[in-house]
C-alpha cells in the first residue's frame, strides 16, 4: 500500500515523516520533475507500508512547481505514485486554514487520516478545538492528535492507519474539484469551502494577533539596516566554515585517497586494470568525496536557518533587490553559497518553488567565483600583475582579485536579467508566502537533511563525475604510439642524461603529458586559442582543468617539469616568467595573463558542477546550454581583453 503524506508548509510535516520512518528513507525525484520525493517504509500493527512525503501545498489548485506535482499525482489514478490512502498533517494552532486542503482531499475520496499536529502549541495558545464537531463534519476520516517535535503520537498514527475507512462518503462540499480550471471558479470554491469551515465553529479562543516575540524579533531581523547587517554576519560565519574549516576534512579525505592509490599501486598486480583502478578510479571517487564536507556544512546551516524560520525572513528582505534580475529572494542563498562552491549552491536552489526562477539561479550560479578558482587567480596574478600600490594603500594585486569576484557577480546578475527574457515560463512567479513563527531547530531534522543531500550528491552526481574523470585520466595518460619513440629520444638527449633523477622524472612526465591524447588535442586546438594569447601548453592545461579548475596549476607544473606540489609554486612562477615563444617574446605577458584570468571567471571549467546541474534540471539540455553560453562568454571576453592589452 502506498500512503501519501500531505499538508500545508510549516505544519511539521517532515518532522512527522522523520518520526514515522526514521532513517529508513530514500530520496529521489517525482517522475519528470526535480521535486524531492522522500519515501520510507512504515510498520503498522498489521502491515508494512510505503510512505511518500509530498511537497507542502496549500491546496489542490497548483500555482508552483511543488504544488503542480501534488496536483498531477493526486488527480491521476494511473500515476505510479497515486496513493491508496492519505495522512494529512495539520497545524492544530492554525486549524481552519489547514483544513481547506484536507477538505479537498476528503472530497477526492481518499481514505484519510487527519493528524492534528503541534497539539501542545495549540493548547498553550489557549485554543479549544472541538474534535467531535470536526469528526461530525468528516465522518469518513480518522482523526488523531500528535506532537511530532517531541515524538508524541507515533503509535496513535500507526494504529489508526489500519482502521482507515474506504472511499465511499458524502462529500464535505459537493463539487467535483477536477472540473475547476479557471482562476475565478477555483477562487469561488476556495472561498465557499473556507466559509463553511469557519462556520462550523471548531475553534474557540482563536488568536487574533501573532505571538509577540515573533513580531518583536521581526522588527530587528527585517530592519533596513540591522536586517542586512545580521544577514551579512550569518553569511560570514557560514563562509568561514565552508572556506576555512572545510579544508581540514577535505585535506584528510584527499590524503586518504592518495594513500589508497599508493597502496593499490604497491599491492595490485601491475597492468592496465591496476592503473585504471589506482590512477583513474580511486582519484575519481576521491574527487567526489572531497566535496562532501562543503556540502554537509552548507546544508547544515541552511537546514538550521530553515528550521528556525529565519530563512524566510532572508527571502523577505532580499526579494526586492533580486527581482529586477528575474530572481527571487530565495535565489540569494544559492548564489552566495556558490562563492564557496557552486555544487552545494546549485543543490540548494531546490528551495525555489518557481521553476523559471530556480532554473535561472542554477544557470548563473557558476559565474560566482568559487574557491577552486583561487589557486588559478593566485598563480596568474602573481605572474602578471605587478606588486605595486595605488595611492600607497591599495595593493594592485588585491584590487585585481576583488575585480575578478565583482566581475563574476556582475555577469551572474546580468545573465540572469537576459535569461529572464528568454526562458519561457508557464505561470508568473509570485512571492506570497507565510513567515512562520520562530522555533528552536530540531537537530534530528537537520541531521537527516544533511545526510540526504550528501547521499544524493555521492550517488547521483558522483557517477558522472567519476566517469568524466576516468575519461580525462585516460586521455592524459595514454597517447599514440609515437609517444614511446619521443620518450626514447628524450632519454638519450644531453639535457636528460645530465639531470638529477628527480629532474629526469619531471622531464619524463612533461613529455608524456604533452605527447598524450590530451596533449595532441591541445596542439590541434592551438589555432583556435591563439587569438586569446594562449599556446598549446596552456591549451593542455585548459583541457585537463575541466576536471576541476585548480587542476590548471598542477597541469602547468607537469608540463613545465617542476613537479606537482605546492612548494614548487615559486619555481613554477619563475619558470613561467622565463617562458619565451619562438619569436623570443614572453608567453605569460600581461595580455595573456589577464585574458586567462577573465577566461577562468566565466568558463564552466568544472565537470562536477555540470553533473549537479544535470541532476537538478533532470536533463542534459540545460548543463550543455550552460556549458556553451559560459564558454562563449569566456572566449569572447578573453579575446577582447587580450587584443586590447596586447
Amino acid at each position: 500500500m502506498k500512503i501519501a503524506l500531505l499538508g500545508n508548509p510549516n505544519t511539521g510535516k517532515s518532522t512527522v515523516f522523520n518520526m514515522l520512518t526514521g532513517l529508513r528513507q530514500q530520496v529521489g525525484n517525482f517522475p519528470g520533475v526535480t521535486v524531492d520525493k522522500k519515501q520510507g517504509s512504515i510498520k503498522t500493527p498489521n502491515h508494512t507500508q510505503q510512505l511518500i512525503d509530498f511537497p507542502g501545498a496549500y491546496s489542490i489548485f497548483a500555482r508552483s512547481l511543488d504544488e503542480q506535482v501534488v496536483q498531477d499525482v493526486l488527480t491521476n489514478k494511473e500515476h505510479t505514485d497515486f496513493p491508496d490512502a492519505v495522512i494529512y498533517v495539520a497545524d492544530a494552532a492554525n486549524l481552519e486554514r489547514n483544513l481547506l486542503f484536507f477538505s479537498q482531499l476528503y472530497d477526492l475520496g481518499f481514505p484519510i487520516l487527519l493528524v492534528l499536529n503541534m497539539w501542545d502549541r495549540a493548547q498553550r495558545k489557549g485554543l479549544r478545538i472541538d474534535i467531535e464537531k470536526l469528526q461530525q463534519q468528516f465522518p469518513a476520516a480518522t482523526i488523531v492528535t500528535a506532537n511530532a517535535r517531541v515524538a508524541i503520537g507515533k503509535d496513535r498514527i500507526l494504529q489508526a492507519l489500519d482502521q482507515l475507512q474506504n472511499g465511499d462518503r458524502t462529500p464535505f462540499f459537493d463539487l467535483d474539484l477536477t472540473t475547476l480550471q479557471t482562476d475565478s471558479t477555483q477562487t469561488d470554491n476556495t472561498n465557499a469551502r473556507l466559509d463553511k469551515l469557519r462556520n462550523i465553529g471548531l475553534v474557540q479562543n482563536a488568536p487574533t494577533t501573532p505571538v509577540n516575540s515573533s513580531t518583536r524579533l521581526d522588527r530587528i531581523l527585517t530592519h533596513r539596516i540591522y536586517g542586512y547587517l545580521i544577514f551579512t554576519a550569518v553569511l560570514l560565519v557560514i563562509f568561514q566554515f565552508i572556506f576555512s574549516f572545510a579544508s581540514i576534512p577535505m585535506d584528510f579525505i584527499d590524503g586518504q585517497f592518495v594513500r589508497l592509490s599508493a597502496w593499490g599501486a604497491a599491492n595490485l598486480p601491475e597492468g592496465l586494470l591496476s592503473k585504471l583502478i589506482t590512477q583513474g578510479l580511486i582519484p575519481g571517487i576521491g574527487g567526489v568525496f572531497v566535496f562532501v564536507p562543503q556540502i554537509a556544512i552548507l546544508f547544515f546551516f541552511i537546514a538550521l536557518l530553515e528550521e528556525s524560520g529565519y530563512l524566510s525572513r532572508v527571502v523577505f528582505i532580499m526579494d526586492r533587490i533580486m527581482r529586477p534580475f528575474g530572481l527571487n529572494g530565495k535565489s540569494v542563498v544559492p548564489l552566495l553559497s556558490s562563492v564557496a562552491c557552486a555544487i552545494p549552491g546549485i543543490m540548494s536552489a531546490r528551495t525555489i518553488s518557481d521553476w523559471k526562477e530556480r532554473l535561472i539561479t542554477i544557470l548563473v550560479a557558476p559565474f560566482m567565483s568559487c574557491s577552486a578558482r583561487i589557486p588559478v587567480y593566485t598563480l596568474l596574478i602573481s605572474l602578471v600583475i605587478p606588486k605595486t600600490y595605488i595611492g600607497s594603500i591599495l595593493n594592485l594585486q588585491g584590487l585585481v582579485l576583488f575585480g575578478l569576484y565583482a566581475l563574476g557577480i556582475l555577469f551572474a546578475l546580468g545573465t540572469a536579467f537576459l535569461l529572464r527574457l528568454i526562458v519561457k515560463s508557464g505561470k508568473p512567479g509570485f512571492h506570497l508566502m507565510e513567515l512562520p513563527e520562530y522555533k528552536a531547530p530540531r537537530f534530528y531534522n537537520v541531521g537527516i537533511a544533511v545526510y540526504e543531500k550528501v547521499k544524493i550528491f555521492i550517488f547521483d552526481a558522483g557517477k558522472i563525475i567519476v566517469a568524466i574523470s576516468v575519461l580525462l585520466w585516460a586521455l592524459a595518460s595514454y597517447g599514440p604510439s609515437s609517444r614511446e619513440t619521443k620518450l626514447n629520444e628524450l632519454k638519450v638527449s644531453a639535457s636528460y642524461t645530465k639531470a638529477s633523477p628527480s629532474q629526469q622524472q619531471e622531464l619524463e612526465n612533461s613529455l608524456l603529458l604533452s605527447q598524450s591524447y590530451i596533449g595532441h588535442f591541445g596542439k590541434w586546438m592551438e589555432p583556435a586559442i591563439a587569438p586569446l594569447g594562449y599556446d598549446w601548453k596552456i591549451g593542455i592545461a585548459l583541457l585537463s582543468s575541466f576536471a576541476a579548475r585548480e587542476v590548471f596549476v598542477g597541469s602547468l607544473a607537469t608540463i613545465y617539469a617542476v613537479g606537482d606540489d605546492t612548494d614548487n609554486n615559486k619555481r613554477l612562477v619563475q619558470k613561467l616568467r622565463d617562458e619565451k615563444n619562438e619569436s623570443g617574446q614572453v608567453v605569460y605577458s600581461l595580455a595573456t595573463g589577464a585574458s586567462l584570468l577573465v577566461f577562468y571567471v566565466f568558463a564552466m571549467q568544472c565537470m562536477a558542477t555540470l553533473a549537479v546541474v544535470k541532476r537538478e534540471t533532470n536533463s542534459w539540455k540545460w548543463p550543455l546550454i550552460q556549458l556553451a553560453f559560459m564558454g562563449i562568454i569566456a572566449y569572447l571576453s578573453a579575446f577582447v581583453v587580450y587584443q586590447v592589452l596586447l
Partner: protein
Amino acid sequence: MSQTLDSISLHQLVEISAIASSAIAPKLSEMGLTKGQKIKAIFKAPFGDPIAYEINGNIISMRKEEAMQVEVQMA
C-alpha cells in the same frame, strides 16, 4: 472609502472587501484572505516591498503587486 492592501498604513486594522480576479487570487484565498476577514500590515521589508501582514494570527508576506489585488475598507 475603499483602498487596496498595499497602500494601508502599518498597524491599521482593515477588512477585506474584494479580491480582484487573477492567477494569484486562489492563492490569496488559500492563505486565508477572504472577504470579511480582518487584516493589518505589521512590518515592511527595506524599500517598502514586500510587506508582512497579520491575518488570523498568521504572518503572511506579500509583494506590493500582490497586495494590490486585495481591496479593503476601514474596519
